[in-house]
């Protein structure tokens, strides 16, 4: 329980009317840490969001691949694993835009199918991780004391255990593995990052007086979390989800690559796995392994840059001008 010192700080670092606040900011401003969104008008946030280059670039890259996921399957009339879609090991051609594999499967069809499953796994996995992170983070941050102590230890334990090693065991014994299994697994092992971030933010908000005021108005604590604390962090939660989403894509690709991914559906990781197994790298069939990796890098890179842009929009201190 941190004791708040009643130092008589004449300049409150909260948002005084813009004119006065900025005039007197002087040294005080440098000491302001990352703060939850101050109640700026919605239009103002939208204005800055639309003019933030990082957000636009990152966002459009991710959007492009999202569209490709839906439009792609319509463009090709081959199934992802269909044989005889073209000559074996054929480089990109008019018929097979991304060329063909050693088995004559159409790479573009596999690529587009893989995109779909990767996005699916990432959304479910990332969403689940954020959800668990919220539950643990809010409870630990709000409740404090022993509950906080125990949840913190649990978070640290799950954080330290290399999740890949745990999956080695589970997946090895699991014959049939679907996308849902992989998403569940990712969700249940990558939540500690979200939990740590949300706990810290909740802890800082919990010490604000408006939480005490809500308690003085007879509002119950879980209601306080969802009507007072969570809305303040909405931008923060969205950014956490974006990071979890990107992380899930990377983990899913790694698992598929080792052969622990879903056995029955196409995925970007699986494409790279088969490419390496059939030594596409040694034989120079670049069209087989370049697209899947490139897609992952661009999507996850786009997400991270989008996140930086969002951070600048919601947290003016970082904005250079």
């Amino acid at each position: 329980m941190s004791r708040s010192k009643t130092s008589r700080e004449p300049i409150s670092d909260a948002a005084l009317p813009v004119g006065i606040a900025d005039a007197e900011r002087g040294a005080a401003e440098a000491a302001i840490l990352v703060k939850p969104t101050v109640g700026k008008k919605k239009s103002e946030i939208l204005y800055f969001a639309l003019h933030n280059p990082k957000l636009l670039v990152g966002g459009s890259v991710v959007l492009l691949f999202l569209i490709l996921t839906f439009v792609g399957p319509l463009l090709t009339h081959y199934g992802p694993f269909e044989y005889g879609a073209g000559p074996t090991n054929g480089p990109p051609s008019a018929r097979n835009w991304f060329g063909t594999t050693t088995f004559g499967q159409d790479v573009f069809a596999q690529f587009v199918g893989g995109l779909g499953s990767t996005f699916a796994v990432a959304i479910v996995g990332g969403g689940l991780a954020t959800l668990i992170g919220m539950i643990v983070g809010f409870t630990a941050g709000y409740r404090g004391g022993l509950v906080d102590e125990i949840l913190n230890m649990l978070t640290n334990i799950v954080l330290v255990i290399p999740t890949l090693a745990v999956l080695l065991i589970i997946a090895a014994y699991l014959e049939v593995r679907g996308i849902l299994w992989e998403a569940l697994f990712i969700g249940f092992t990558s939540w500690p990052w979200a939990a740590r971030a949300i706990r810290a933010q909740t802890f800082s908000l919990r010490n604000r007086d408006f939480v005490d005021l809500a308690r003085l108005s007879g509002v119950r604590s879980h209601k306080i979390i969802f009507t007072e604390i969570a809305p303040n962090m909405s931008s923060y939660l969205f950014m956490t989800f974006i990071l979890m989403f990107g992380g899930a894509i990377l983990i899913a690709a790694t698992l598929d690559f080792i052969g622990l991914g879903p056995t029955n559906t196409a995925s970007l990781g699986l494409m790279m796995n088969t490419a390496v197994l059939w030594s596409a790298m040694h034989l120079g069939y670049w069209w087989w392994f370049v697209p899947p990796g490139a897609a992952i890098t661009l999507i996850v890179g786009g997400l991270y840059i989008m996140n930086v842009g969002l951070d600048e929009v919601f947290n003016p201190k970082l904005r250079e001008f």
């Binding site: 008589r8 969104t37 109640g39 007086d209 005490d212 108005s217 509002v219």
Partner: protein, 325 residues
């Protein structure tokens, strides 16, 4: 009406025990209906902790707080809700008391939903407007605005208006004007004083002696979690007995007299740590600092009607009839 009976609050530092920090140490005083009591203490004296305990925002380690002879720790959730209809609080930082992403008047809709669910809207609006005017605010100026569009003074008055809507009997005002500018500060103070005439009891928590003197009839001087001196404001301010209060009176900058002599910097042991004897022992200049001061905590003795002091010097003298030198 509100009685504090030997309450204490200790915090454990470090996860598995380790040091124990006693923020509040066996405090007892009471607040009569319509009485303004100022709780004066510097940072680390535990004054805010006491305020939070009365509002049941934090638990009491030992002792009990009785509201109309009922220990508030035993109140169920429903009873607590009724308790909050009669005892409310206003805090130090006006901008931290409002959720920044909602409009400021949301504090009213929260209490409407909880306490006045069945009151028709037009009747509620009238009630709201009259309480706003009662605190010197002009409704159109402050309603439907974000907190950062209002000044510190206006925000604090809104909170007082909120308390008036619940027509409370006791208001815990924890440093409510220390973050306001001098010019608006005095108006909020005058507002509190006027509320007293309407029968409201106020626990005015502050570190500024002149504010305490301006508004309260009874003053409680706190030092490191224990009451150093307590009594009617005039007696405590005009004729301070405890060395700590005397030092405070000497150190406060006045506008009409300059400091005389010199004041040493006081760096006592870390705040709140368990000190066996009198908490002020380390800084006490009084010559008769005897072994007794070091070993036992002095209890509160009545040196004159309505004036209590926790200092060993008075215990020995009181046993003899002659007044202290």
């Amino acid at each position: 009406m509100l009685k504090l009976d030997g309450i204490s609050k200790t915090y454990r530092i470090g996860t598995f025990g380790g040091k124990e920090l006693r923020a509040v140490n066996n405090i007892s005083f009471d607040i009569a209906p319509g009485e303004v009591v100022s709780l004066i203490g510097e940072s680390g004296s535990g004054k805010s902790t006491i305020g939070k305990m009365i509002l049941r925002l934090i638990s009491v380690t030992s002792g009990s707080i009785l509201f109309e002879e009922v220990d508030i720790a035993t109140l169920s959730r429903r009873q607590l809700r009724d308790y909050y209809r009669r005892v409310q609080g206003v805090f130090q930082d006006p901008f931290s008391s409002y959720n920044p992403i909602f409009k400021a008047d949301r504090v009213f809709s929260i209490i409407k939903r909880v306490y006045f669910r069945h009151v028709p809207d037009d009747e509620w609006d009238a009630k709201l407007r009259s309480s706003l005017e009662a605190v010197g605010l002009n409704p159109p100026e402050v309603l439907d605005k974000y907190p950062h569009q209002l000044s510190g003074g206006q925000l604090q008055r809104l909170l007082i208006a909120r308390a008036l809507l619940l027509d409370i009997e006791v208001l815990v005002a924890d440093e409510i004007i220390s973050m306001l500018d001098a010019s608006t500060r005095i108006d909020v103070l005058n507002l509190l004083a006027e509320l007293k005439t309407r029968g409201l009891a106020i626990l005015f928590i502050t570190h500024d002696l002149s504010l305490g003197h301006y508004i309260s009839e009874k003053a409680v001087i706190l030092y490191r979690g224990a009451i150093a001196e307590m009594g009617t404001t005039d007696r405590v301010f005009n004729n301070p007995h405890h060395p700590y209060t005397q030092m405070l009176m000497r150190s406060v900058p006045h506008l009409d007299s300059r400091w005389e002599g010199k004041e040493a910097v006081a760096e006592g042991p870390e705040e709140g740590l368990l000190v066996p004897g009198c908490p002020y022992f380390a800084r006490c200049p009084v010559s008769q600092r005897s072994q007794a001061c070091k070993s036992a905590i002095p209890e509160l003795l009545e040196t004159e009607p309505g004036h209590f002091v926790a200092c060993r010097r008075y215990a020995d003298i009181l046993s003899e009839p002659t007044p202290p030198a």
